[in-house]
């Protein structure tokens, strides 16, 4: 559920938030977003999220005439209005109101929306999640664009398989899940794809947490390699560090969350508790 929003700086209840129909994000898909959350009432790593948001804009060619401080101030004010301790923030940027149906405007449209943090059942961490695979590569993998049509079209197939997400691969190489990154362990070596992906903030934090404990390889990962892995997991703002125990109906290793994965999850949870303490 969304609570409040800021539309180009104007704050209002989310259910009143609207954009005009000549928005080029709506008409032509020319839009991107980012998504972060709070822990203990404080926005977690929001500088990194905002940097990525700005980078997506630069890569897509959408102007970004905003001061970081002004965005933070809006986020704080929105957060305050909710009266809630922990929320998530959705930041959406489109190419603005198009004059002719296809040319971006000079000013982009910036939406900041506060939302409930999605509930994740605890047993997903203790039992792991099931996923399917799909041959697909996002058009602009380094940009957090608004294009999620593939995931939405696959939703019935995911559900029918008893799964909760999809891992994309192309030409035998895996890239990422629909909204999160992929990691695997071969013994004590932590491996994660490094190209054709959206580089997640949780991915970054995970690598930081892991680097003094495990050998790390950021490199292309084949689909075949998943079946040789001892552990597979995914990282994301909502999923945090989430074991994957079944892929396309086949168990990963012994079908249980791996020890190293759970160790990293614990370290991540500690970090989110301590960072604002």
């Amino acid at each position: 559920m969304a609570h409040f929003c800021s539309i180009n700086g104007e704050i209002m209840p989310a259910e009143r938030g609207h954009i005009f129909i000549n928005d080029i994000g709506l008409l032509r898909g020319y839009g991107l977003f980012d998504y972060c959350r709070t822990y203990g009432g404080q926005a977690f790593m929001r500088d990194l999220y905002l940097q990525r948001f700005e980078r997506s804009a630069a890569l897509m060619g959408i102007s970004f005439p905003f001061q970081k401080d002004s965005i933070w101030q809006q986020m704080d004010e929105l957060h305050q209005r909710t009266g809630m301790q922990d929320i998530s923030f959705r930041l959406v940027l489109t190419g603005g109101y198009t004059p002719d149906g296809v040319t971006p405007a000079e000013s982009p449209n910036l939406l900041i929306i506060t939302e409930d943090i999605p509930y994740v059942a605890p047993e997903k961490f203790t039992k792991g999640i099931h996923i399917i695979t799909d041959e697909y590569l996002r058009e602009l993998p380094e940009i957090k664009s608004t294009n999620y049509v593939r995931l939405i079209m696959l939703r019935h197939q995911i559900k029918a398989a008893g799964a909760v997400d999809v891992l994309f691969h192309k030409n035998g190489t895996v890239s990422e899940l629909s909204r999160s990154n992929l990691f695997l362990f071969h013994g004590n070596t932590l491996v994660t794809p490094d190209t054709n992906i959206l580089k997640g903030i949780t991915r970054h934090v995970t690598l930081q947490l892991a680097k003094n404990i495990y050998k790390i390889e950021e490199r292309p990962v084949t689909l075949e390699e998943l079946w040789q892995a001892d552990e597979v997991f995914t990282t994301g703002t909502t999923k945090r560090i989430m074991p994957i125990t079944m892929i396309d109906g086949k168990p990963v290793a012994d079908g249980k969350p791996g020890r190293n994965t759970l160790r990293l999850l614990e370290a991540f949870n500690e970090l989110t508790k301590s960072i604002n303490a």
Copy 2:
């Protein structure tokens, strides 16, 4: 310029038309559209356009709980309000207001917008247009989705090349321009790609006009083949039948609009004059 719009059946001036920010077309790119125009005050081939609109919805999995008559009635009323003889209609359908940011709603959002018919300078027909090529294949070529990010990102490159549009190709095979179909003539044989394209209504009409005059081949077309063609042209609702005389800075044949192309254009213009007479 847009004049009037209907948002889920409610008619208002276009500048007042808005959608709420949880529209899944805006947030996740889950939307599609169609676009038709009038000639002599009458919507041209609107049954075919509307069929295609409905087919896009079926392919993308967006529900289409509308009676054709009701859409036509809204189009007529919008048209009447403009007080103009000839206009174009943009029909946009999204997966509706998402309850959770990623799941489509039960009811889609339907927008019908009247717009000015884009001006096309007469010399574009007499001199032909210049285009560039780009290695790209639309994700869902048979669906008229709202994803035009590639075109928008290429706009500066197109302009810098003195061109007005882009022809997409992949693995040596051409598909379509950003918003129109491709044809070429080898002598009196008319050739047009038949896969990985959005099948245009003007493409369909062109094939109908041509079938008793020329040999027709609907088949894959290689990029190389463009340089052996005697004539190249594109078809679309706005461009009608438009000669292409320069591709990537190289002239097509002698660099002038071809005789057969102009003959088809004349036949098309006759049809648009006579169809409502």
